[in-house]
């Protein structure tokens, strides 16, 4: 799902006619049509036409992606359905190497003739670019896999679940919030299915069926007399799963001051808790600014990992390709080459991963036909690796790509995108309760809120959904107006404890933006609850 579409659709003014004004979102499609897959034998025939046409025009390498991208959104507020959209985007993107340069062209007319023409256009673009290109593209070798396929291991295809069932669930959730005293409630379910066929001159023909889902809500409570209002967002995560994520399961719940969720979500339970917490915020005290030991739930920490570890270890940022948009990185190559750059404390082990089940980044193969894997990025606190694609692997001395290539659609060129970047759980047994027992003056933060970080990823500020004061090992009440500010290296070096794997959960985003024109990608970040000592907390209350 494209970032601008998501932002648009997540807005509160959604309506059927507005959905149609979203360009790139694709054409409307009936449920029946959406469930008919395209025959892989046909896709192979189409792909071969593209590869042969590119080669005959002088391409030394070519890949073709035949993509069918299905999106569904059901959005509601209070008692009203604001919008339902079911869309499809189908077409072919062809990327070639000619004269040492990349060229790309795409078409939505999926015929043999048009595909051949598009391949020729891609070669012409490559040849034109080669005149102003400095050095030739150097591709890491990649063996062909022949005809293979991969599918997200879903239990229930969200596109097969009737829209009426989704509306009923959201309406029941909204009703529970309103009955609990909410002033307003917005809720939505987003479902994504990427049917991607990849073929390359290396001899791969890869058919993939990828599924994602994201339920969410915001509860708002208003006190007109004081003019104050508070909100609490859902503690759900976008997941690489089917509709089974919407079916509550006791074993997937993490109990505590509020219930949190692993691979099954309970929207009704969460919205009731959110309504109670929104009410409690009116009585919470405003935080005293200063240094606190932070206990961060995975629903909060995922975003801090994303911004402060995921982004600065993207190799294209390190090299300067994103300087005009997303920015560069403080993790320059010399820091990696030294093999002793102290990114965090010894407890900090962070991996790049495209295989974890249920995660948004999990696929069989990336968008340039590389089988997905898992690798260390931060090992015992030291920077040991980045995230790379085939044309970047040689820069960091790799023999093969790490499989980090992704394009948001068939008509967008693939480039380096973040894999799941996750903090590994602590090796020693440690529960959240035991972690809190040791904290003298701290704040326990659940859920993600406001977020901002500089263009080289040093200085950041994060909020949250709910904040609990910890005094002498006990939670003593709720706080308002909390945001934590730190420097990435100082923050990760202040990590003094990480709960064990029984607390490990995924958070994530559907909308990580990068590139010009901007492309969006979906990525997860796993962690267990972690403790960071002496972090600067500011008070965000103002009078206007």
């Amino acid at each position: 799902m494209k970032r601008r579409d998501f932002i648009y659709l997540s807005g509160i003014g959604i309506g059927a006619s507005m959905l149609q004004s979203v360009p790139g979102f694709g054409r409307d499609i009936s449920m029946e049509e959406a469930l008919i897959p395209i025959d892989p034998a046909l896709k192979k025939r189409l792909a071969d036409v593209a590869l042969n046409a590119a080669r005959s025009k002088g391409a030394t390498y070519a890949d073709v992606r035949i993509g069918r991208y299905l999106n569904q959104v059901v959005a509601t507020r209070e008692k009203r359905v604001q919008g339902i959209a079911n869309t499809e985007s189908y077409g072919v993107g062809i990327r070639v190497l000619a004269n040492g340069s990349w060229g790309f062209a795409a078409t939505n007319i999926v015929t043999l003739d048009e595909i051949a023409k598009t391949a020729q256009k891609a070669v012409a673009v490559a040849k034109a670019n080669s005149k102003i290109q400095g050095t030739s593209v150097q591709l890491a070798p990649q063996k062909g896999y022949g005809e293979v396929s991969w599918k997200t291991p879903i239990v229930k295809n969200a596109f097969e679940v009737p829209v009426g069932e989704k509306i009923d669930l959201l309406m029941a959730s909204n009703a529970a919030a309103m009955a609990g005293g909410a002033s307003f409630v917005n809720s939505a379910i987003f479902a994504v299915n990427e049917q991607k066929y990849f073929a390359s001159t290396d001899g791969s023909y890869i058919d993939q069926d990828i599924h994602r889902i994201f339920p969410n809500f915001t509860v708002t409570k208003i006190d007109k007399a004081s003019g104050k209002f508070f909100t609490r967002k859902s503690l759900s995560a976008p997941m690489g799963m089917g509709y089974e994520y919407m079916e509550p399961r006791a074993a997937s719940k993490v109990s505590g001051i509020v219930t949190r969720y692993k691979d099954r979500y309970d929207i009704l339970e969460d919205i009731k808790a959110a309504t109670v917490e929104t009410e409690q915020k009116f009585k919470a005290k405003s935080v005293e600014p200063g240094k606190y030991d932070l206990v961060l739930d995975p629903s909060n920490l995922f975003l801090t990992i994303h911004e402060s570890v995921g982004h600065p270890t993207e190799l294209d940022r390190v090299l300067g390709y994103e300087a005009n948009y997303a920015g560069t990185s403080f993790l320059t190559l010399d820091k990696w080459e030294s093999k002793k750059f102290n990114f965090g404390s010894k407890l900090v082990n962070i991996t790049g991963d495209k295989t974890e089940q249920g995660s948004l980044g999990a696929v069989g193969f990336d968008d340039e036909g590389v089988k997905c894997k898992r690798w260390d990025i931060i090992k015992d606190g030291t920077l040991v690796n980045y995230q790379a694609t085939r044309d970047q692997a040689h820069i960091i001395g790799l023999e093969e790509s790490q499989g980090c290539s992704y394009a948001q659609g068939w008509n967008d060129v693939q480039f380096q995108r973040m894999p799941n970047v996750s903090l590994q759980p602590g090796k020693a047994k440690l529960s959240v309760d035991d972690m809190i027992k040791d904290v003298e003056k701290g704040i326990y933060i659940i859920g993600d809120g406001s977020y901002s970080i500089d263009q080289q990823r040093y200085n950041f500020q994060f909020g949250g959904q709910t904040f609990y004061e910890i005094s002498n090992g006990k939670i003593t009440g709720m706080l308002n107006d909390v945001a934590y500010q730190s420097n990435t290296q100082e923050f990760w070096n202040s990590c003094t404890a990480i709960c064990d794997e029984s607390d490990y959960r995924l958070g994530g985003t559907f909308n990580d933006g990068k590139g010009q024109p901007s492309q969006s990608s979906a990525v997860s970040h796993g962690s267990s609850t972690s403790r960071f000592n002496g972090v600067n907390v500011i008070n965000t209350a103002r009078k206007i």
Binding site: S21, I167, F229, Q455, Q461, P517, R542
Partner: protein, 438 residues
């Protein structure tokens, strides 16, 4: 094919409506064509050409609406898309907020289309980028930039006979220049309807000057400072404010425009009296669409007059419910300035900080519109009317409402992105921490 004339668009829309059997029907048609070049490390990294056109139909029976889209325009396809919208409408839940389509309106002809911009081809784009690269290489800097142009049209027609058509052109350019040591960075960003106003060579020189002058920045203590915000920085703060001039969220009590005890703060003096903000689709420097997406005429609208909020925007449903005029949301926003140049503002400043631009602005608290973000690409310390030295970047936590109360002086307004804003001298702007980022 992607850019249709008024007559061509009208013919397709009429044909589509002729197939409608619904109580009400609304059809919209839009297309665009254009291209882009992206460069980094002083070489082109990607380039593309894009052309698209699509038609959307919205059919309503009673209060049940269905919509469908298509990108084929033969009669059979047009009939098919209408039938599909009607099928979906019959299946849709009733929308209690449905408002009947609008009666025909009168619109003035838009002035947003400039033929010279519509004529840009890939060679012209390459030429503009080469000029930018040339400046960077001569200055021994590394440039990363993006140039994109588009020509587009949009037309709507409904079953009550309303017809509206607009076309426009746009070109936008941005470049970041950095020194080899990574200790200095500069940036410019410009958008125009008319390509003749874009000078990539001169603009890259400005960015290069900033990159060179911002090297070896010193750290100064965070705190409250007088700042001079260049138009790019001022625009980033204003965009967040103008988006909040929405009546429904204010009426519902969930906006900085909501009033304690109920109601809105419309008519209140929220800002310093130097603050005047309006929108105007016919401003020669920022021409835009003459109607909103649902067909309401875009007229010159005053949002803030001498610091007093004069108008809020409404959806047609909310306006009907509140029994007020349905003013569409602000586009083509202009904040009036004074006559001083940026240099004159600096000259008149005893102690202060010059901010080129902000980065990663996010809302912290919607009640007060508190925003956070960072300075980037050239932040300088001013003393006794002179730029003394570059300083390290800061994180700020500030509300544009507080900021526009603390206006000391406004310079000459100019187009920055899709707004016209003046450089602003603001006292007591809150910087909360330092950043090592360059």
């Amino acid at each position: 094919m992607a850019i249709l004339s008024k007559e061509e668009a009208q013919a397709i829309l009429k044909k589509t409506l002729s197939f409608s059997k619904a109580d009400e029907c609304e059809v919209s048609l839009g297309g665009s064509e254009g291209g882009n070049i992206r460069y980094a490390r002083n070489a082109v990294s990607t380039a593309g050409e894009i052309s698209t056109m699509g038609l959307a139909v919205s059919s309503t029976f009673g209060k049940k609406t269905g919509s469908a889209t298509i990108n084929e325009f033969d009669d059979a396809s047009l009939e098919k898309v209408v039938r599909r919208a009607e099928e979906l409408a019959r299946l849709a839940p009733e929308n209690p907020e449905y408002v009947s389509v609008m009666e025909p309106q009168t619109y003035r002809e838009s002035i947003a289309f400039v033929p010279a911009t519509a004529a840009i081809n890939p060679d012209a784009r390459a030429e503009m980028v080469l000029k930018s690269l040339q400046v960077a290489k001569e200055a021994k800097l590394e440039a990363a930039g993006f140039l994109e142009n588009s020509n587009s049209f949009r037309a709507i027609m409904n079953s009550k006979g309303l017809f509206a058509y607009n076309k426009d052109t746009d070109i936008s350019f941005s470049v970041t220049t950095r020194n080899e040591a990574g200790t200095g960075s500069g940036y410019v960003e410009q958008s125009f309807n008319d390509v003749k106003k874009l000078d990539t060579l001169a603009q890259t020189r400005i960015a290069s000057g900033k990159a060179t002058r911002s090297a070896t920045a010193k750290a100064i203590e965070p705190g409250k400072y007088t700042v001079i915000l260049e138009p790019l920085a001022a625009k980033d703060m204003l965009e967040n404010l103008v988006r909040g001039f929405d009546a429904r969220s204010a009426d519902e009590g969930r906006s900085f425009m909501s009033k304690k005890g109920g109601g809105t703060r419309l008519g209140e003096q929220l800002f310093n009296e130097q603050v005047n903000i309006y929108s105007d689709p016919f401003h020669p420097e920022l021409p835009g669409a003459t109607w909103s997406g649902d067909g309401r005429p875009q007229e010159k609208t005053v949002w803030v007059d001498k610091g007093v909020v004069k108008n809020l925007s409404y959806t047609r449903f909310w306006a009907q419910k509140q029994n007020v005029k349905a003013i569409p949301p602000a586009r083509q926003v202009i904040m009036e300035g004074g006559t001083a140049s940026l240099e004159e503002l600096i000259k008149g400043t005893e102690k202060g900080i010059l901010v080129t631009r902000f980065w990663y602005i996010r809302s912290v608290d919607p009640q007060t519109l508190l925003l956070t973000g960072l300075t980037r690409d050239g932040t300088f310390y001013i003393e006794n009317g002179k730029i003394m030295f570059p300083i390290k970047n800061f994180r700020f936590n500030e509300s544009p409402i507080i900021m526009l109360n603390n206006v000391e002086a406004l310079g000459k307004a100019q187009r920055s992105g899709n707004m016209i804003v003046p450089p602003m001298k603001i006292r007591d702007f809150t910087f909360s921490s330092l950043s090592d980022a360059v």
